[in-house]
Amino acid sequence: MTLLTRRGLITSGALGGGLLLGACDKLTQSDGVSSLVKSAEGATYRWQRLIGRNALAREFTTADLSPVFKANGSTDPDDDAYRAHAKADFANWRLKIDGLVERPSEISIADLRRLAARTQITRHDCVEGWSAIGQWTGPQLSTLLKTVGLKPNAKYIVFHCADNYGGEISKGGAQSTGLYYESIDLVDAFHPQTILATHMNGAPLTVAHGAPCRMRIERQLGYKQAKYVMRIEAVDSFAKMELGHGGYWEDRGYEWYAGI
């Protein structure tokens, strides 16, 4: 009994002290520990889908709008083709929709703006911890997906963007192109508040906020709200795309399911 007590004391003391000194950092480098820790994401995803598969994000009024909506991440993509489109006010720009769809399509910004639009005032939650309330207007993603027709094996919708964060070596050591991309499941893809926003606070999207259109996936964090969407692709898996985790930040350790 005495031994057990002393051992318990020493173990708990060493654990606490070691943590304070950051000596447990090496735990994060163990693959086994990392995969155990990341298993929480699946539990979170399944539990949130269980309690509110079709729940709507809280919508606010114009009185609640943030005076300044912080433009974060890329604010001016360094890409010649994108810049040429921006200069021409996106007159020649086309949104591609392809992958596992029955009728691959291209749609102009004018046609996108002509589709039945949804306007919603929602809170944008950055993974860093800040929030801002903005008004977004644009067609529902479901409208576009119904038009092109998803093939039965389509499981995820991927958004390919014009902005490049630079292809630094990511966690795990593999090299990515650095191109921004994101992906969501079909529950969120067909969610009524999932829209391709062409307008923010009543005006066409500015370049800083993702012109000509950005995603609004209101039940997930800011990094899911892909800006500068160039192409929408339906896939059955994103395992072979870039570093295989379904998004630029996901490839760098962030949760694919960003509802938390």
Binding site: L15, D25, S131
Partner: protein, 290 residues
Amino acid sequence: MATIPIADDGLTPPSSAPYLWHRHSLATRLTHWINVVAITFLLGTGLNIFNAHPALYWGHYGADADDNKRWLEIGAIDNAAGQPRGITRVGPIKVDTTGVLGVSTGSNGAPQQLGFPSWATFPSVRDLATARNWHFFFAWVLILNGLVYYGVGLATGHLRNDLLPRLRELSLSNIWHDIVLHAKLKFPKGEESKRYHILQKVAYGGTVFILLPLMIATGLSMSPGIGASWSWLVDLLGGRASARSIHFITAALVVGFIIVHVLMVVLAGPYNEIRSMITGRFRIDPETPR
């Protein structure tokens, strides 16, 4: 030690000799130590997450430009000599916190600009992705562990009998009496040490019934998914930015509880106290002077 009788049935042995009494159930001991590990990681990862945006606001939203909603911020400025100084602002009060908050010594020995210092965070370097992964893993551990604790505590009556203050215990004279005893470091002896007194009930009960549930409620409220499913909870807490502020304040209160708790364990006799939380057995010394 071996000669001390064990009274697992809770009955007082007739002799006036010290004896070991079964104080903590297996469920209490297990959930206690799981909580120690979970809360240690939650605090360290929480501070790492906080460092990604070291500012707090009241209301539904808050970001860089929302000065009127920001009540706390940890930042750094260069002084006249060009040296970085850590500045912490709480409401109208600004304090130079160089060395700990805002500017502190990094793992390479050089000063670095960081909200909370690297020795207080997990991982020790700024790593929001890893900190989040670990925070949510241990949040699940805390919740599941808490459900076991509450379930067993309700079923056995432990919560009601041992932690919930009786109405008569809440009298000012009783509370004052206990404060005086604590101030004199006079801890209950003998049969009196078998039950929690009012300050213990307030500390343990407050943590179990108020702080930890509030920790979880405010944590859940920051999740945009839960914000959609349970928007009433976010509204109840005054909005997401408020929930984040309350999450931080409550974490500070939990740290305060841990400091007082550990201090009291040390003062009351760490060997006996810690043994009772490991093996369950607590030595009862008779009140009568030997």
